[in-house]
């Protein structure tokens, strides 16, 4: 099993979910995060006090996938999340030792 983590632009979440759905993937966990990177943030000014907000709202998607699907999953995410503009984000792939489905106690690929 592998664990795929992707940082994407928030408004791309729905498209990515749909793309993964067509691969038969229905489970994932999503977190609101702040991204620092090459993309520059916007400036806020409050009564003359300027704050350059150099983080940008991003969304982190995490999903465990069977080894066989990893390549497809990465490709699907990349295709769906891409705008071609700076700040599109990253995909990271990790080894996953074990997965347990809490409800049933199933382990491994069955637990996904």
């Amino acid at each position: 099993m592998k664990f795929v983590m992707a940082i994407i632009k928030p408004f791309k979440l729905d498209e990515v979910r749909e793309a993964l759905g067509t691969l038969g993937i229905q489970g994932m966990t999503v977190t609101e995060v702040k991204g620092f990177g090459r993309q520059k943030g916007q400036t806020e000014v409050y009564r003359g006090a300027e704050y350059v907000v150099n983080f940008l709202p991003k969304v982190k998607i995490e999903l465990a996938v069977p080894d066989a699907l990893v390549a497809q999953v990465v490709e699907a995410i990349q295709a769906a999340a891409q705008t071609g503009k700076i700040g599109d984000g990253k995909i990271f792939v990790f080894n996953l030792n074990e997965t347990v489905r809490i409800r049933t106690g199933e382990r491994g690929d069955e637990a996904l």
């Binding site: 000014v45 409050y46 009564r47 003359g48 006090a49 704050y51």
Partner: protein, 431 residues
């Protein structure tokens, strides 16, 4: 109201004249319409502090200080109510001398259901003194903007209590209670000197004595929830009708004109700040629009019973631009941390208004002509009023703060400041 006393240089005579005139006919009678409007005005001015100022200020601080900031307005409201009852009203409106009232009205023991304050003879004294109480409440609440996010709550209570008795009551007496500024002909319809310059200057002294917030200039101190500030500013705008038109202490044409010019000046100042910002920064901000509105409200306060709409519009436009400059450029250049611009908006706006009242006053409205009607001396009189207020407010505020610093201590610890006052001082959090 007593402000009417301010119109002539022989104030006491003038003050008693109408009452005397009445007395010839019969005992002055309560007027139910005047009373209705003054009770309404009292509610409106209370609304300005809670939740008005509470929200306006809370909307501009960081999340960890939202509740503590609201708490300041709320606690000041309770504290000053009791202080005004105990001695504040008596010191401000007891006959006394040119400097201070007396103790004849201590604890309000002398006020009954049918009491009447001579210079406000068509309404019950209970209403007059409660209306004045709401002014005594909002003035210290405004100061709190200057030291937001870093003052100890206990020190704040001590400060506000002492300040109310030692600074607010005397200056109120000077201008409206039969004191020397009113006698000298200073025009201040609803509190340009008594409330705004006074609070603004006291705020500046607080900001200087307490020093800057930890992280000022480096950390992101962006307002957490400006929507709260917009609600607060709106309440201020609406409530200010009671503040200004209520200061006519009657439901008449002068009150109506005070309401109209308040509306016009406020709108003008909101547009002016917004416009100045648009030109200088490229974007008109919400914070700018509401700050401008408050600046306009402040500036038209002394003028409201004396000017016509056109004068009010000019006052508003001037206040909007000048306060934009003081809250952005001036503050950052001089480097003091007047957190929410108590001085930049109330102090500076109050000065603009007090002086321009001397320019735009119209005899047909308030009985006194201004510089445009040839009475150039009125501007000088106005400046004298400002200087007297500034001097006493600055000195007395400084002394009170120093004494408190040596006794209870003014500032929270750095750790409390970084945890936020909500949890550190009050044990509560916005979840």
């Amino acid at each position: 109201m007593i402000k009417k006393l301010g119109l002539t240089t022989t104030a006491l005579v003038a003050a008693l004249a109408p009452v005397a005139a009445f007395a010839q006919d019969a005992a002055p009678e309560l007027n139910s319409g005047d009373t209705a409007w003054m009770m309404t005005s009292t509610a409106l001015v209370l609304l300005m502090t809670i939740p008005g100022v509470a929200l306006f200020y809370a909307g501009m601080v960081r999340k960890k200080n939202v509740l503590a900031t609201m708490m300041q307005s709320f606690a000041i409201c309770a504290l000053v109510t009791v202080i005004w009852m105990v001695a504040g009203y008596s010191l401000a409106f007891g006959t006394g001398n040119a400097i201070i009232g007396d103790l004849s009205k201590v604890m309000l023991f002398s006020v009954g259901k049918d009491s009447v304050f001579p210079a406000a003879a068509t309404i019950p004294e209970s209403v007059f003194l409660t209306f004045q109480m709401t002014f005594a409440i909002i003035t210290p609440a405004l100061i709190a903007g200057a030291f937001a996010e870093r003052m100890k709550f206990s020190a704040m209570l001590w400060f506000m209590g002492l300040w109310s008795l030692l600074v607010y009551s005397p200056i109120c007496h000077w201008v409206w209670g039969g004191g020397f500024l009113g006698s000298d002909g200073v025009l201040d319809f609803a509190g340009g000197t008594v409330v705004h310059i006074n609070a603004g200057v006291a705020g500046l002294v607080c900001a200087l004595v307490l020093g800057r917030r930890v992280g000022f200039g480096s950390e992101n101190m962006a307002p957490f929830n400006l929507a709260l500030a917009v609600i607060g500013a709106s309440m201020l705008w609406v409530g200010w009708f009671g503040f200004n038109a209520g200061s006519a202490v009657a439901s008449d044409g002068r009150a109506g004109m005070a309401m109209l010019v308040t509306q016009v000046a406020t709108a003008g100042a909101a547009l002016a700040w917004m416009g100045a910002e648009w030109v200088v920064r490229g974007k008109p901000s919400v914070l700018g629009a509401i700050s401008g509105a408050v600046a306009g409200l402040v500036a038209v306060t002394p003028a409201s019973g004396f000017v016509l709409p056109f004068g009010a519009l000019v006052i508003g436009l001037a206040a909007g631009v000048i306060c934009f400059w003081s809250a952005t450029w001036l503050k950052h250049t001089l480097g003091y941390d007047d957190s929410l611009d108590a001085f930049g908006v109330h102090g500076v706006g109050g000065l603009v208004g007090a002086i321009l009242t001397g320019v735009f006053a119209v005899e047909a409205v308030g009985g006194t002509p201004g510089a445009l009607e040839g009475n150039i001396g009125q501007v000088v009189t106005q400046i004298v009023g400002c200087l007297a207020t500034i001097a006493w407010s600055a000195v007395a505020t400084y002394v009170i703060l120093r004494v408190l610093d040596m006794t209870v201590g003014l500032r929270v610890t750095t750790e409390q400041e970084s945890d936020g006052l909500d949890i550190a001082l009050h044990g509560e959090r916005m979840q």
